[in-house]
């Protein structure tokens, strides 16, 4: 705890806030891409502390939140099939599909297992040789390498009743799509530290180079974020746009070569549907052809059906940063953590859930 306490030190925070205030004659629009950053910003009170200086906008960096309704429906369709066990991380359970959720299907008796590690899915497969275990794999670059490693382990173990429904997504293409939409005027990115540990800083360079927007790859403690804001403001003042690493204790320029190799071995890029951002080219990961016998998409061949997102829910606009959770008519009324209408209220990293638990403003 001593180590963490240093990153929550009041004196250092006061010093940084003071410096930030000297650098902000006007209010700046910065986006924190990652949901974990949104939680820290609200829980530690940074949003309130710097409300006059920085407009901190939550981005599309919560994997549960950006999973499209069609993809949730797809997982539900697979879970309804005979002879299938669907293994999923707990935060996907409550995400509403177009007419059901995995939680409701589980209560109806479908064989859906909540796992804490992707290796748990292999254990389930080994214990149930007559069933096909489908691992619902969601996440960004951070989780993709462990899923890749799980698949290779399954092959080594000779498991033929294990497969993956890959809904993995990649962060830099989403940031590009967001900038391409031009709906918000962003002046700086607080980039996700966990994604940075895997891919390094190079994949973010195009933002600084092509769009002239400074980026800082940032850790998840309050002082990390304050320091990142300070670095962004310093770049603004010096009229620079660079990708800098604040989260140096975990992130290098090159990223993690072992993890990147694993990802590349198992996955290839594909177009992917993002809630709120529609289909983004080359923003998803699917299994390479040589692993098609382990690919849920190939094995089950479920057609995509056009579905509408829940009426009144503005998760899409929230994920694009053009609205805040408190702008939603459903927020805190019919949409609450125990009864979510949209996915941003489901995940603990979702903007709506974070605003619900820690938001300063009235509801």
């Amino acid at each position: 705890m001593e180590y963490l306490d240093k990153l929550r030190d009041r004196k250092l925070a006061d010093g940084l806030v003071k410096k930030i205030r000297t650098l902000t004659p006007k209010r700046h629009n910065f986006m924190e891409v990652c949901g974990t950053h949104t939680v820290t910003i609200l829980k530690s009170g940074i949003k309130d502390l710097l409300r006059d200086e920085i407009n901190l906008i939550s981005g599309p960096g919560c994997p549960v939140c950006v999973t499209s309704t069609q993809d949730v429906d797809k997982a539900i369709s697979i879970a309804r099939m005979d002879g299938v066990i669907l293994a999923t991380f707990g935060d996907m359970l409550k995400v509403p599909g177009s007419s059901s959720s995995l939680q409701r299907e589980k209560a109806e008796g479908r064989n859906i297992r909540v796992i804490y590690s992707s290796l748990d899915a292999l254990k389930i497969a080994r214990e149930n040789p007559k069933k096909m275990v489908v691992l619902l794999a969601i996440g960004f670059e951070t989780t993709a390498p462990t899923i890749a490693s799980t698949l290779l382990t399954a092959i080594r173990m000779g498991l033929s009743n294990f497969s993956i429904l890959s809904l993995h997504k990649l962060i830099p293409p989403a940031m590009k799509a967001l900038l391409g939409m031009g709906e918000i005027r962003l002046e700086g990115f607080i980039c996700p530290g966990h994604v940075g540990t895997i891919i390094g800083s190079t994949p973010f360079q195009f933002i600084a180079k092509d769009y002239g927007i400074p980026c800082v790859i940032t850790g998840f403690e309050p002082l990390d974020i304050l320091q990142a804001i300070f670095i962004l403001l310093t770049q603004k003042k010096e009229k620079k746009s660079q990708v800098m690493i604040q989260y140096k204790r975990a992130v290098s320029k090159e990223g993690n070569p072992v993890a990147l190799d694993l990802m590349d071995k198992v996955f290839e890029r594909c177009d992917a549907k993002w809630r709120g951002l529609r289909t983004i080219p080359e923003s998803g990961l699917r299994l390479r052809d040589k692993y098609k016998n382990f690919d849920g998409e190939y094995l089950f061949d479920i057609r995509d059906e056009e579905v509408k997102d829940p009426s009144g829910c503005i998760c899409g606009e929230i994920l694009r940063g053009i609205k805040e959770p408190i702008d939603c008519k459903l927020f805190g009324r019919s949409c609450r953590p125990y009864h979510p209408v949209g996915p941003c209220m489901v995940s603990s990293e979702g903007s709506c859930a974070a605003y619900y638990h820690y938001g300063r403003k009235e509801r």
């Binding site: 705890m1 963490l4 929550r8 009041r10 925070a13 006061d14 806030v17 609200l42 829980k43 530690s44 009170g45 940074i46 949003k47 309130d48 502390l49 309050p222 002082l223 304050l226 019919s334 609450r336 953590p337 125990y338 009864h339 603990s348 619900y356 638990h357 820690y358 938001g359 300063r360 009235e362």
Partner: protein, 337 residues
């Protein structure tokens, strides 16, 4: 309620859904001047005197944990609910619902633990009941206790009495019970020597009320932690409460476990701690009295009543920002007490 057709685990969690169940189902059905005060115990007028009356059920899992067991918890819990009205606990009932096949030796251990704590506190267990249900109908053993106590003539302690000018005193570290029980549960693979703080608070309370007649509210932050307790008081009294994160005592073990498990210590239960709202001028007197008792040695001021225009709880964070503390919602920790 309007969104659920079935009872969820969270309805018993002490958070937002529990509150909704009480407000929308139980209170309308049983409303009377006594019940609607929503305090830890009912305050009953009886021939010119006042009696505190309370009941609670215990379903903790596992039955035995470091620092206590279901028996100790069942007696302490009801003693504490009475003490939170400023009452002197006198008599307790004990009812047992037991699963067929439950080992008699284990039952003896539980009973012995209840006997010990009753002896220590001077409370008499005077009546009881036993039911046994078929194997599988419940998990091992559930205990219900109810108790009555005597409230001294001029005390007026209630969750609805907090006022602007009151300070908020916490008797010690929060969350010890929650993490102690969780760490010993199957599925949580972390080792901890942290003990539950399960303890009877009646002696501490009697020392406090002896020193000051300006104690307005007493509450023990059990299920839902201090986040729930403070929100309840803010709603009952129609006040805004401001607490300071840096002043809230939390053990390192509890903080570390919360970091790992993604829990908020403000939502974690304690079973031997209390929160007191005391007028500013008496605060130091009460604090001194508390610190003289072993159960209040770490007592400290954590905040104040900061306004009376809206009911809400605010937290000044460790880095100097401010945020809302909400009634916890969703899946809290089932069977923690």
């Amino acid at each position: 309620m309007r969104d659920c057709s079935k009872i969820l685990i969270a309805h018993g969690g002490g958070g937002g859904l529990s509150y909704q169940l009480i407000k929308e189902l139980f209170l309308p059905a049983f409303e009377n001047p006594v019940s609607k005060k929503l305090d830890d115990a009912a305050c009953l007028p009886l021939q010119g005197k006042r009696i505190a009356f309370s009941t609670d059920s215990y379903v903790v899992k596992p039955l035995f944990f470091l620092g206590g067991d279901i028996g100790k918890l069942a007696v302490c819990g009801t003693i504490n609910d009475l003490a939170m009205m400023g009452a002197e606990p006198l008599y307790i009932s004990a009812a047992f619902i037991i699963e067929e096949g439950f080992p008699l030796d284990t039952l003896k251990r539980v009973i012995n633990s209840m006997k010990e704590i009753a002896k220590e506190t001077g409370v008499l267990i005077v009546t009881g009941d036993t039911k046994v249900v078929e194997k599988g109908s419940l998990d091992q053993i559930f205990i219900n206790t109810a108790g009555i106590g005597y409230i001294d003539g001029d005390l007026n302690i209630s969750g609805s009495n907090a006022k602007v000018g009151d300070v908020v005193i916490l008797s010690g570290t929060i969350g010890d019970h929650g993490i102690a029980v969780l760490s010993q549960r199957d599925g949580f693979k972390f080792e901890s020597r942290l003990k539950s703080d399960c303890a009877p608070l009646n002696k501490l309370v009697s020392k406090m009320v002896e020193k000051s007649k300006n104690i307005h509210v007493l509450r023990d932050p059990t299920r839902g932690g201090i986040a729930t307790t403070l929100n309840e008081i803010s709603l009952q009294s129609g006040i805004e409460i401001l607490i300071k994160e840096k002043d809230i005592p939390i053990r390192d073990e509890v903080r570390a476990a919360c970091e790992i498990l993604g829990l908020d210590p403000l939502n974690l239960p304690s079973e031997g701690k209390l929160i007191a709202f005391v007028s500013g001028e008496d605060a130091h007197l009460v604090l001194q009295a508390m610190r003289e008792d072993p159960l209040g040695k770490d007592a400290t001021i954590i905040g104040e009543v900061s306004g009376n225009t809206q009911s809400r709880v605010l937290l000044e964070t460790i880095i100097g920002g401010t945020r809302i503390v909400n009634l916890p919602e969703g899946d809290l920790l089932p069977r923690i007490c």
